[in-house]
Symmetry: C2
Subunit: 257 residues, 2 copies
């Protein structure tokens, strides 16, 4: 016969919990002292360990009581359905994870210190859930859809998407400066590099996308993160400056050779 504290120590279940299990009739101590102290047997201990295990895999105490009290319980069925439940829960958490990453990436771009950004992002996230795929599928052909998959999505967690997001965030933070500054030009060069790496053969696609980006309403329908017009304008200016630099330097090179 084992005292309640010893049971608690062995199973790491609190004394309070043991008394609670007694109270709800899940595990009654098999005997008591004259004074009313609970005394547990080895069998009680075993049963408790089973309870502990079943609780660990997500069953409620009520379920566990039903299981253990019914000698012809169909374990196969209930465990299969429990597995299904666990799998569903995992999917739910996975989609929460996506939302969170989307928000965090959004915050990275926006600067992350103002409440307005949050509001915008939450609103965006909310409506994204309702939007369907159809619009996107009407807009592009198959080859383009393939390229589409490479686009940085706000929920992306791959280093590729993350770099796009980081670059965009940096552009935003330098918007008050000069588009010809070396910082901005370096960012632009990196973006062009990436664009060529990721979408080598999709020039037409890129142009179409760029046009779309300029229309906020279209962008939203596509589930793209909306880039403000000022940012796009700033990027275009910086882009043109970059191109003109390239031409200048190639002329120089041509002169020398």
């Amino acid at each position: 016969m084992i005292h309640i504290k010893e049971i608690a120590k062995q199973t790491k279940i609190t004394v309070r919990t043991l008394r609670y299990y007694d109270q709800i009739g899940l595990l009654t101590a098999s005997s008591k002292t004259e004074g009313g102290h609970r005394l547990y047997s080895e069998e009680d201990l075993k049963k408790l360990q089973q309870i502990q295990f079943l609780k660990g895999i997500g069953y409620s105490l009520k379920d566990i009581e039903d299981m253990l009290s019914d000698p012809k319980w169909n374990w196969m069925i209930s465990m299969k359905s429990q597995l299904v439940y666990i799998l569903e829960e995992q999917e739910r958490l996975k989609s929460i994870e996506c939302s969170l990453r989307e928000l965090l990436n959004g915050l990275t771009v926006e600067g992350g210190d103002n409440y307005l950004a949050i509001q915008k992002l939450i609103q965006l996230s909310n409506q994204n859930k309702k939007r369907l795929l159809t619009f996107r599928e009407n807009m592009f052909n198959d080859k383009e859809l393939e390229l589409w998959a490479k686009l940085p999505k706000m929920r992306g967690e791959d280093p590729n998407s993350l770099e796009w997001i980081a670059l965009l965030g940096q552009i935003k933070r330098h918007m008050k400066g000069d588009p010809a500054s070396s910082r901005v030009q370096n960012i632009i060069r990196r973006m062009i590099e990436k664009q060529m790496e990721d979408f080598e053969d999709g020039d037409e696609f890129i142009n179409k996308l760029w046009d779309l980006r300029k229309s906020p309403s279209q962008s939203e329908k596509l589930g793209l993160y909306p880039i403000e017009k000022e940012v796009l304008d700033f990027m275009e200016r910086a882009y043109e400056i970059h191109i003109s630099f390239l031409q200048d330097s190639s002329i120089e090179q041509g002169g020398r050779s």
Copy 2:
């Protein structure tokens, strides 16, 4: 100004919940009629949608209240830690999934209709958690450890492990019959086929494993599903019969050729 029922319809949040949010001060209707009916503004609606979103990604109402009432809340930090929490939860569920698959596969082998099997499996599962890897690593060398990874584990969900488990279960169900019967022999043949497919070059390893299997205590330490001695004996008999058939037929073939 919007009536409570309209808000409920638009957000799919129940009227009761709206009143509750009012009660705890999370979202107070911005005005009321003379009679005390709640009237919500467009801003209230927006705030409610934010609440809904934040609740959806797992925050408690208390947390949400803190967030929304503090204008300089650090969203970045709290969302990162929330992401960490979500990732941990996913791991927890993943390990629950493993336990469940282990149990279900165990039930498949045992026949799944007796409570004793469950008790045994739960006990096994419990002690597996405590057991460490060291014993296994002392027992086999590197090449063998590679093969080890191919062994059917009870928590396996790949078709390969599942077939092993299924075959074992079938053997168990035919144990009262004749080891020379065609059913049993077909199962044995399939097992030998699989054994050759999976462990082509590991004869010594297979033998060592087979010996281990005969020692229940060693098996348990390795985290292998313990196969009862009677089952192993039955399998050995069937195996010998199978071998002798093979020899007979090869003699016949030899005679003809």
